[in-house]
């Protein structure tokens, strides 16, 4: 390194000091998304949110800003940064961000916020929650019917009520379809890292398969990628969740419990654009099209007509109210 180079670099640094100002370009709305720690390519929950935002961009030409958290402590700063920039609406993904949002939202009363998967009770926040247990009930039925060994498994992320509610729906659905079926349950961890640890997910799935499970549902975000991988590697069936994960390992993913976070994000953006945005709780289930099970070319050969009929019948029953899937979060129990 000679002196000349050093000097030229110093000169470049000095010249660039006068700084341009970054401002939000004036447009109708300037939306933003804050993804949770899994990142927007987690192949799951966040990715679904990303797809919704992206679809909005394609259809309306309105660009959005996004931020992926590296750790939960960043959440508050990210939300506040967007709000300060004048972003509106701001959608935050994941229950982990609820505390941060509850803190930031009152500071920007004119900004519209939305949070997915948790309720934040503020006049400028829309809380989108899903009735996932309705979806896991259906995939539980399908898993039970697809199982040859009489044992199925589920790998959850963290041991929190949200995941308990889903595992409960899964078990109830499975027992409904095949009485006496054995359902193995494992949780990955106790911290946020549990959502992003595919190696551990694969370990747990491998253990469950070793114990006889031949269908394993993942409810663990990024960790679930490892679950599906392990199931495919072992020649067993996995079940995806959140996004449609049927295509990850064609022929080895029985189905996916699809949670349309994309729809929630798209709707929130769209409502903000056309003036129909409302604060409060939006609960999405089978009836609203927020939850569903995935049936496409990837798993057409895995789902027999009998299975499809049974799942569709149960789906209609739930929508019509003839079946009520027990909600773990109501009373903290899972009556089997």
């Amino acid at each position: 390194m000679n002196c000349k180079q050093v000097f030229s670099i110093i000169a470049v640094l000095a010249v660039s000091l006068p700084v341009t100002v970054f401002a939000v370009r004036a447009s109708e709305i300037a939306p933003a998304v804050v993804y949770s720690t899994g990142g927007k390519f987690d192949g799951s929950f966040n990715q679904s949110a990303f797809e919704g935002a992206d679809r909005f961009k394609q259809e309306t030409g309105i660009d959005y800003r996004e931020f992926e958290l590296r750790n939960d402590t960043q959440s508050e700063q990210a939300i506040r940064n967007f709000a300060r920039e004048g972003r509106d609406p701001i959608i935050v993904i994941g229950f982990q961000q609820a505390t941060s949002l509850a803190k930031v939202a009152p500071e920007f009363p004119d900004t519209r916020f939305a949070i997915v998967d948790m309720v934040v009770d503020q006049p400028n926040v829309q809380s989108v929650v899903f009735r996932e247990h309705e979806g896991t009930y259906l995939v539980g039925m399908l898993a039970a019917m697809a199982s040859d060994t009489g044992t199925i498994g589920v790998v959850g992320g963290m041991d929190i009520p949200l995941i308990r509610r889903m595992t409960c729906g899964y078990a109830l659905g499975a027992l409904q379809a095949v009485s006496g079926i054995k359902v193995l349950e494992n949780m990955t961890g106790t911290t946020g890292a549990a959502w992003n640890d595919p190696a551990r997910g694969a370990e747990l799935a491998t253990t469950q398969i070793g114990l006889g499970a031949d269908v394993v549902l993942q409810l663990a975000g990024g960790t679930g990628i490892g679950v599906l991988q392990a199931a495919a590697d072992a020649g067993k069936l996995g079940i995806g969740s959140d996004a449609n994960q049927n295509g990850l390992h064609p022929g080895s993913v029985l189905t996916s419990m699809v949670k349309h976070v994309d729809v929630a994000v798209f709707d929130a953006f769209e409502a903000a654009r056309n003036g129909g945005w409302k604060p409060g709780i939006r609960s999405l289930g089978l009836a609203e099209g927020g939850i569903d099970w995935a049936f496409d070319d990837f798993n057409r050969d895995l789902i027999t007509p009998a299975m499809k009929d049974a799942a569709d019948a149960a789906r209609n029953d739930i929508i019509d109210g003839r079946i009520t899937v027990h909600d773990y979060m109501q009373d903290g129990t899972c009556p089997r």
Binding site: F41, N186, A193, N196, E203, L204, T206, T207, L211
Partner: protein, 323 residues
């Protein structure tokens, strides 16, 4: 039968989780026995894991990925050597620097190459190390006990698992039965004497850190192309430090280090499965307790309460030639 099956599964998982630890602990051993502290195992493992996954993805061959991983970790070892051996910099600081650097650099390059938030794309079957069925494993699978030990526990791992276990006696042989090993240990104990005998201390230490690089590169590749199917940001999650602890726990010797790795691997495998499990008579054992156990044990050992861990005498001291 059910319990037996559980034990087999747990031991099977132990082999899988301890493999990267064994390779990294041996890597640490080569470096430290020659007098160079290697706190950079964590960062090197991460660098190896990233290179392996990225290259395997591009060329579709895990072996080339493995070579890339080893190449990367050798470069990092040389960097470590350049700082600590050539410029007599602080070995602890250099190690920490490499760890921090790689944590950022792998993610940064990952985002630049693949735009998936620091991940590499999932590898397909051909780009990963596949399980190997040992000869006759299927035939004896139905033989009670021994058959299932052979077919379930010993067979069906990928090549790197076997490599790791073979690396232990190999490392022992190199370390204690070759002239190279003798000299390597000597520069770690008494570099002055080695120098007097006309052997270059600097060259010897460089060779030692390069051996370290080769081994830790394999452990990185194992994480991303054998056990997993892609690289993830900070996927080593402290395994480099656990390996370091295992090396210390194994008193800087290959076979004791192997047992330490197996023990720590077992604890990890057990912790994963004990989430929310209630043991009869004991109640629910906090998973965190099991997770912290390797570190606690290492501290207890270091404190001299169970045996004594004596590091190589010149560990951490740059060699300054007497004039």
């Amino acid at each position: 039968m059910d319990n037996f099956e559980l034990v087999i599964l747990l031991l099977d998982a132990t082999l899988r989780t301890s493999t990267p630890l064994i390779l990294a602990a041996l890597a640490g051993m080569f470096s430290e026995r020659s007098g160079t502290i290697n706190l950079a195992l964590e960062g090197m493992m991460l660098g190896g894991a990233f290179s392996a996954a990225a290259v395997a993805y591009y060329v579709g061959n895990p072996w080339i990925g493995l070579l890339a991983a080893i190449g990367t970790t050798i470069c990092l070892s040389l960097l470590h050597g350049f700082a600590c051996i050539t410029h007599k910099g602080n070995q602890v600081v250099s190690g920490m620097a490499i760890n921090i650097l790689m944590s950022g650099l792998t993610a940064l390059v990952g985002i630049a190459l693949f735009a998936q938030g620091g991940k590499t794309p999932s590898l397909d079957h051909g780009s990963r190390f596949q399980p190997i069925t040992l000869p006759g494993a299927d035939a004896v699978a139905d033989v009670p006990v021994l058959g299932s030990i052979y077919s379930e526990l010993l067979s069906g791992h990928n090549i790197l698992v076997y490599v790791a276990f073979l690396a232990v006696p190999a490392a022992w042989w190199v370390m204690y039965r070759t002239r190279f090993g003798l000299r390597l240990r000597a520069v770690g104990e008494n570099p002055g004497a080695v120098d007097t005998a006309g052997i270059g201390v600097v060259a010897m230490r460089y060779r030692a850190v390069m051996c370290s690089g080769v081994l830790v590169g394999m452990s990185g590749a194992y994480l991303s192309t054998a056990q997993g199917a892609s690289f993830l940001q900070d996927m080593t999650a402290g395994k480099g430090y656990i390996a370091l602890a295992a090396m210390v726990f194994g008193k800087w010797r290959p076979f004791p280090a192997l047992f330490a790795c197996l023990l720590f691997g077992f604890l990890d495998a057990a912790a994963t499965r004990m989430q929310g499990v209630i043991l009869p008579g004991i109640g629910e054992v906090p998973v965190q307790l099991v997770q912290a156990l390797p570190y606690v044990l290492t501290v207890v050992l270091l404190a001299g309460f169970i045996g004594r861990a004596t590091p190589p005498k010149s560990l951490g001291r740059p060699y300054v030639k007497e004039r």
